[in-house]
Symmetry: C2
């Protein structure tokens, strides 16, 4: 079974980073979820970084990782910075397969989620 790495931007506000870590816990606690591990990592300003987050999963023996960009917009971070960080990891860990999903803002289920939130 793969593991899931939720990649957030990271913030100078510790509370914002804790929100992301709590979100990872909530995903992990979903009854229907099937990932071995669910962890959070940060592009910048918070720990672990993307490479360290991926390496921590590899150190636990994970060979399949789903990387989910927890970003609303398809900007430079999603288009370039995250793929670059993952490529750096993959060069060092060729046996670990990392699959990057669409970012949150491009999720097909987002419109329905918004209707739920606003209801």
């Amino acid at each position: 079974m793969p593991s899931l790495l939720i990649i957030a931007h990271g913030s100078r506000r510790a509370a914002s980073n804790d929100e992301v870590r709590r979100l990872a816990e909530q995903v992990r606690a979903q009854p229907e979820q099937a990932y071995t591990h669910v962890e959070a990592a940060f592009l910048e300003l918070a720990e672990p970084g993307i490479g360290d987050g991926l390496a921590a999963l590899a150190a636990k023996g994970e060979t399949e990782i789903v990387a989910f960009p927890y970003f609303l917009a398809a900007g430079t971070h999603v288009a370039q910075d995250i793929p670059k960080a993952i490529a750096g990891f993959s060069a060092a860990y060729p046996a670990v397969e990392v699959r990057v999903t669409p970012h949150l803002g491009a999720s097909a289920s987002l419109p329905a989620t918004i209707l739920n939130v606003a209801a």
Copy 2:
């Protein structure tokens, strides 16, 4: 029936703002959705601003508006800037009721959404 205003941060990248406007269209197109209008507005860097977005709905005769902060973290924008902009509108339009929902990052359905995206 109320209308829904999706409030995003706004970006210097026109494509990011267009992503938000397209999201508003997608929410509007959901078969089960029950809002009279679904529009996007921006805290900064893009048009319409929050006050203008609310006023445009009021000008269409709307008296009940659900304001949804399309933000991941509960930072200053969510805690202070958006409420302040809405308070400014409400002072000018006392007959229009504006209800602010939790921001996206605090949505109870977000963990399930993330599992959908990553699947």
